[in-house]
């Protein structure tokens, strides 16, 4: 029995999933995470390093890594790639000026070998803001249709109101579960 299959067995028993939350700064990554965990969101500071939360979702234990999105620390994202089952890419839907930056960062991320096979959920966050782009506009802006290397889905949501966060989580957890746990 190889090491990998042993590891898989162990994980199978515990039903653990490792998720990575990434995106440009000000996208709302930490707010989403705190909201999912039922913590207050009104005093969050921009993330200097990273946050880790462990959440229960549909019987799975999710280890969620939320890494700061400032330009100067994006190069550290790669330290978290190992063993990632899914990436949650968070977009500030009201940030029309940086949609192009956002696209570039996302497509660069998907080139990463260690993320091959990871499921990709795009949260079109901040739908509560009046100036927000719709999920369809974000989909075009990020050229999501060109992504052929990963399972992906886009979900409009608002971390502030909590709207549609669980819908997105259901999708990514379901997608990962069907890949890792139900296939053997």
């Amino acid at each position: 029995m190889g090491l990998l299959s042993i590891l898989r067995k162990i994980r199978q028993r515990e039903k653990e999933i490792r998720l990575l939350v990434l995106g440009l700064d000000n996208a709302g990554k930490t707010t989403i995470l705190k909201r999912l965990n039922g913590e207050p969101i009104d005093k969050l500071s921009p993330t200097l390093g990273f946050n880790i939360e462990t959440l229960e979702h549909n019987g799975f234990k999710l280890h969620v890594f939320d890494v700061g999105g400032q330009r100067s620390i994006r190069s550290y994202w790669r330290n978290y790639f190992e063993q990632t089952d899914g990436v949650i890419w968070v977009v500030d839907s009201a940030d029309r000026m940086r949609i192009d930056d956002c696209k570039k960062e996302l497509h660069a991320l998907l080139q990463e070998e260690r993320l091959a096979g990871a499921s990709l959920l795009i949260f079109a966050n901040k739908q509560d803001l009046p100036g927000a782009l719709t999920d369809q506009q974000i989909k075009q802006g990020l050229q999501l249709d060109e992504i052929a290397t990963h399972h992906w889905a886009i979900q409009a949501c608002s971390a502030v109101t909590g709207e549609n966060l669980l819908v997105g989580m259901d999708w990514i957890v379901g997608d990962i579960a069907s890949r890792i746990y139900l296939l053997d």
Binding site: N26, L44, S45, P46, R71, D95, P130, G131
Partner: protein, 316 residues
Amino acid sequence: MSTPLHEKTEEKENLKLDTKEAAARFWQKFQVEREAITNDIASLSNTTTTSIIAKQCDNILERINNLEKKLTEATIYLPSYDQRQLSSQIKSMIDELNKQRARLAPKQKFSFKSRKAFLTVNSYLSSSVSSRRIDFQLTDLTNCVVNLVSKKISIGAIHIRGLKNSVMLVGPVGSSVLIHDCERCVFVVGCHQFRMHTSKKMTIYLHVTSHPIIEDCHDIQFAPYTLSIDGLDKMFEAVKLESNINHYDKVEDFNWLRQQASPNWKLLPEEKILKDWPNTLLVSVDGDEKSSDNNGNNDDNLSEGMVNHLLKEILE
């Protein structure tokens, strides 16, 4: 067996000596430059043309700033006594320069090279938009006064890019303010999260309920939010911004993760904090009767006086 031990102490000794020597060398270099600067400040009075004096002052100030930067870099190995001495020397150089400048080239009036504009949220509102909740996106404005203070609307978020030589006033903002590529501006803003990137020479009057962050910025000054208008409390409530918590002084600099204070920002000195915002600027808030008296020309005058007044601080 004793040899390696001995070597070790010697190494340590060497290291100590190196630091000492480096500190001494730095002190010496510093004094040479200080003398040169002091001489230049003294010889300012030989020139008579004020514009030339102003230019020379700028040059000298830049040299002092450079020296200060070097000092900050050298703090790793400088003894704390030297650090204190040298920074007080820098301070007295700046004081001396300011004194001379005030004497020789008094308050030069700042003038605009291009047309200025006076933008208020009301002019924007009347032109379109029925919603009471708005996000703003401001790009590429130069020499402008932007007044987004309004009780009629609440602002969700503001994205700003490329404002130069401008003044912006904003009431409480519901979520975040994101700034890129700005230069020589005064912003007055309240928000939940504040992020500023690739900007310089800014003065920010800020109310923020989380730690503000800067990245790739320098020459930034922070001050508390001092705009006081009737009904401000209600405006804070309307966007659910806590009015009692203000972390404007807890700035995090992404380019400076060390313990010492970042050289890229500082707090605006108490005596420079503007507390009485000129009525000329505030009358236009919410289209009071007073503001309807202002025709376009008037607005232009207001804006120029206002921008002058506010930018004077950072242009010095």
